[in-house]
């Protein structure tokens, strides 16, 4: 709870800096503030408490994921410094919006009441709409913002409708009350319908097939830093929230009571397979790196959805997978930001010969792509390993085999980028070594490798 208050306070401070004319200091101070929030959040770890009539519930799950969100936000704020160099007057707005977005994310994983859950979603989404359209004079950015806003508010509407139906069935917004009464034998039909609507809305936010159509266009049109944010932080928040929603509302046992569990599991399996396959196959054909990573994100969403099949035990695995995926994504995007800084697009040709002109960044991008492809010693490999292990344990061996085949396909497009960096001739000169971009890239890839060498650090957090 203190975390959430602190984050909101920090966001307001960011806005005040603008008035006090402290623009230059805004990035370092926000990073320091977020580090403080991180420490605060750690101190809450292990305690389980609820605040304000059960509006917010702090649990191990929420603190662990909040820590991940805060770390990702620190990286994203650090990258802002160079990204908004040309718009010095707006940097405080952008940083503040990112901090508010984090507040929304934290609220989403620590809700104890569906009203709070919806508030969290809206705070996060509105921040994202603004960021997507933040390049005011760029037509594509405007298009992305508009598209995202229309589609996103539609999904929010569906979620809201679902919440209303659940309220109609249960007579409460409180998660504990709903989960208690959801175990009773006699349930009005509104409850499962409401749940389905909420899950659909969340799948939209996660960008799982068949609710993924917005993702490639929005990712491509948005400014690169916003794309980085969407594909790492926003995606992780959404999948964690979906997981929490299903587990705290006791959806699995209540479905079991009504013999609907096999149907639910089949649907999860189908969505998971469809997301991986469609994401991967579409990614193979992309020449724009941001668009490619959007499709790769869709396929990773398919992998992460596999945790819903083993919901009782897989919280640790989900945390590990999201951490591995997001850290690799941050490392990759910091290199993309550097390479495509003065380009008008993010096509793969920009990366030609990066291995010669800038071996360090090329190595980092290679590492992050290898991690996403699931090559050991990067944590992406262990994430897939633990996920497969968990899934085979509960008997879904066919699903795992499909996932394996998808991993092989994904090598095709990840390596396209690696090939471009190492086997083509450089076509442009790049000067300058922006410290913050280098620092973010190095720290995130190092964290990724450390997670790979010592997976138990994260994996055992949610035992």
């Amino acid at each position: 709870m203190n975390t959430l208050i602190a984050i909101t306070g920090l966001g307001i401070f960011c806005l005040l800096f603008e008035i006090l004319n402290l623009r230059k200091a805004i990035v370092p101070i926000t990073i320091l503030g977020l580090l403080g929030v991180l420490a605060l959040n750690f101190s809450e770890f292990g305690s389980t408490e609820s605040y304000y009539n059960n509006m917010i519930t702090v649990s191990k799950f929420s603190t662990a994921f909040s820590s991940l969100f805060i770390i990702l936000t620190i990286f994203l704020v650090a990258l802002s410094h160079n990204f908004y160099e040309n718009h010095p007057t707006k940097i405080s707005d952008f940083v503040a919006i990112k901090v508010f977005l984090l507040a929304g994310g934290v609220a989403m994983v620590s809700f104890g009441n569906l009203a709070m859950f919806f508030l969290g979603i809206e705070i996060l989404s509105i921040a994202l709409y603004v960021l997507a359209a933040s390049e005011r004079l760029n037509l594509k950015s405007n298009e992305a913002g508009m598209k995202y806003f229309l589609m996103g508010s539609f999904a929010s509407g569906i979620i809201l409708f679902g919440i209303c139906l659940i309220y109609g069935a249960m007579g409460s917004f409180d998660v504990v009350e709903i989960s208690e009464s959801s175990l009773s034998a006699e349930l009005p039909i509104w409850f499962p319908i409401g749940m389905v609507l909420m899950v659909i809305g969340m799948l939209f936010k996660v960008a799982a097939v068949p609710f993924h159509f917005w993702a490639p266009d929005v990712y491509e049109g948005s400014p690169a830093l916003t794309t980085a944010l969407m594909s790492t932080l926003a995606k992780v928040v959404a999948i964690a929230t979906l997981y929490k929603l299903i587990s705290v509302l006791n959806l699995i046992p209540s479905l079991e009571n009504q013999d609907l569990l096999p149907t639910f599991e089949n649907i999860v399996v189908i969505i998971s397979i469809a997301s991986m396959t469609v994401g991967n196959i579409m990614a193979l054909r992309q020449v724009n790196v941001k668009r490619m990573l959007a499709f790769s994100g869709i396929s990773h969403a398919g992998f992460m959805l596999m945790t819903l099949l083993t919901i009782a035990t897989s919280a640790g695995v989900l945390l590990y997978y999201t951490a591995a995926y997001a850290l690799a994504g941050i490392a990759a995007f910091s290199v993309i930001l550097y390479v495509c800084k003065n380009q008008d697009n993010e096509d793969i040709t920009n990366f030609h010969g990066l291995g010669k002109t800038n071996p360090l960044l090329a190595a980092i991008l290679t590492g992050s792509l290898l991690s996403m492809a699931g090559i050991p010693i990067f944590s992406g490999f262990f994430a897939k390993l633990f996920l497969f292990n968990q899934t085979i344990q509960s008997g879904y061996i066919a699903l795992v085999i499909v996932a394996v085949i998808n991993s092989i396909i994904s090598v095709g497009y990840y390596f396209k980028l690696i090939l471009a960096m190492y086997s083509k001739e450089p076509n442009q000169e790049r000067t300058g070594k922006p410290f913050l971009i280098y620092a973010v890239a190095i720290v995130s890839i190092v964290l990724n490798i450390v997670l790979g060498l010592f997976p138990s650090l994260v994996l055992d957090l949610l035992k």
């Binding site: 291995g355 071996p359 290898l370 090559i375 050991p376 010693i377 490999f381 390993l385 633990f386 497969f388 292990n389 085979i392 344990q393 061996i397 795992v400 085999i401 394996v404 991993s407 092989i408 090598v411 095709g412 390596f415 090939l419 190492y422 086997s423 083509k424 997976p455 138990s456 994996l459 055992d460 035992k463």
Partner: protein, 479 residues
């Protein structure tokens, strides 16, 4: 003192090589590879004195994965093969100039590190990690420092990478499945798992896919010739000399003991696939015009025979296979090196553009001849010992296997001697061919010495590997 020392030396060596810069990189790499060789010999002494040089440490608690390295005779033999060939391979590259040499030599050492780990690992997942790690450096070595048209090279290496990764991911699934049954990835626990015949078949096939691509066994060989041709000679040596032995070794270490029922049931099919490789490889080699490609196909033929030997599930078959793995490792490195020496002088790999070398450089010609003869398993060379033992074990299964497998010697003699004729003999070439330099001579002489010494006296190696092979066979025959 235990075997993790070798891994540490090679890994540190890789980093140090990268950081000393381009000028010193090759020498530093050579130094570290020799240090690894020296330590391995010391460890061998410790092992022979009956000391325990294995390691087992807990690594990840849930799922239970340990950092376990097991050094029995078989693993040590493969370790010695790796650390003996690595300095030779590094030394052989001294005549060439490489752009970004620090990266090149660091990758070689890193690859040696991963391959050593693969041979030593006694935990399924640790083994898998090393197995995959070995793939990354060779990918970059072939891609960045390879030769030929860049576009074709890209295609060849990406095909290689996706192929091998595809195979090994199915092996990963098999390992996870086994973990559910055994509750641990440790090899001893995996040996004890009781699996139904059906489960064994699927696991056997998943392993087979990984190994058949790596070795390669027909029909999974299509990546091989192109990659061997496009990779720099150092990469080709690493691939053919050591890396494909990872596949053969893994058949003996992992596939057969874990799924023995399937291995027995379908033995004939897999032996037949191996022998089909022998015949196919030999026939295709006959028609090659490119020296490196010819050697690639001859390698395909030889490993086909080795694979057939492993699938016989007899002590002789396994022993012959291991001996032949080591012998083939040395001879193929020697042959590719000879091809590289010719390339340095003639700038071509096309056999028809060579010839007339004998009159100009008698020393090189005689060394090359010895290597050619060793490769066709002339008695008194190491290869003869291995190949003959394998053929003997095949004859025990079915005489026709031995007859068909024996064509490797006949066809091998034919295409290798024809190649020798084309490359070395004939009219004196208009281009001059300087005889081997001291550096080149040292590598070749070391290889030839090993081949001939063990050809006459293979006992140290057989003594080293036989006990562990017998242990593995007793696991295979436990029911």
């Amino acid at each position: 003192m235990n075997v993790s020392l070798i891994l540490i030396i090679l890994l540190i060596g890789a980093f140090v090589t990268y950081f000393v810069g381009d000028k010193l990189a090759s020498k530093v790499a050579l130094f570290f590879s020799l240090a690894a060789l020296g330590c391995s010999v010391v460890l061998l002494n410790h092992f022979c004195a009956g000391e325990n040089i294995s390691v087992i440490n807990a690594w990840i608690t849930q799922p239970k994965i340990s950092f376990a390295l097991n050094a029995d005779g078989l693993a040590i033999a493969m370790l010695l093969l790796t650390v003996a060939l690595t300095p030779i391979i590094i030394f052989s590259s001294f005549g060439n100039e490489y752009k970004n040499a620090k990266g090149f030599y660091a990758l070689i050492l890193f690859m040696a590190f991963a391959m050593t780990g693969t041979f030593l690992a006694a935990d399924g997942l640790l083994y898998y990690i090393f197995w995959e790690l070995a793939l990354i450096p060779i990918y970059f070595i072939a891609l960045i420092w390879g030769n030929g048209d860049a576009e074709e090279r890209r295609k060849a290496v990406i095909k290689f990478f996706i192929y091998t990764l595809a195979g090994s991911l199915f092996m990963l699934v098999a390992f996870i499945y086994l973990y559910q049954k055994a509750g641990s990835f440790l090899i001893d626990d995996l040996y004890k798992v009781n699996l139904s015949a059906n489960e064994q078949l699927w696991i056997f096939l998943a392993f087979f896919l990984a190994y058949a691509i790596k070795i390669p066994i027909i029909p999974f060989h299509t990546w091989q010739a192109n990659v061997y041709q496009k990779a720099p000679t150092v990469g080709t040596m690493l691939l053919s000399g050591i890396m494909l032995k990872m596949g053969l070794y893994s058949v003996i270490r992992w596939q057969l003991p874990i799924a023995p029922l399937a291995a027995k049931e379908y033995m004939n099919i897999f032996i037949a696939l191996g022998i089909a490789g022998v015949i196919y490889g030999s026939i295709v080699a006959l028609r090659q015009k490119d020296l490196k490609k010819l050697l690639a196909y001859s390698s395909l033929a030889h490993v086909g025979l080795i694979a057939a030997g492993t699938y016989t599930l007899t002590v002789d078959g396994l022993r012959g296979a291991v001996l032949q793995m080591i012998a083939h490792g040395f001879v193929v490195v020697g042959l590719f090196y000879a091809a590289e020496i010719i390339y340095r002088r003639f700038q071509t790999r096309n056999i028809s553009e060579m010839g007339g070398i004998r009159t100009q450089s008698p020393k090189f010609t005689s060394m090359f001849l010895i290597l050619v003869l060793a490769s066709v398993a002339l008695p008194s060379t190491f290869n003869f010992v291995g190949e003959f033992t394998v053929l003997y074990s095949l004859s025990q299964i079915n005489i026709w296997f031995a007859v068909l497998g024996g064509t490797t010697i006949i066809l091998g003699a034919y295409y290798m001697l024809k190649m020798f004729q084309g490359v070395m003999l004939g009219e004196t070439n208009s281009k001059t061919f300087a005889d081997v330099s001291v550096n080149e001579g040292i590598s070749l002489v070391v290889i030839i010495a090993v081949l001939i010494f063990f050809g006459f006296y293979p006992k140290p190696i057989t003594d080293l590997i036989t006990p562990s092979l017998e242990t593995i066979l007793s696991v295979i025959n436990k029911n």
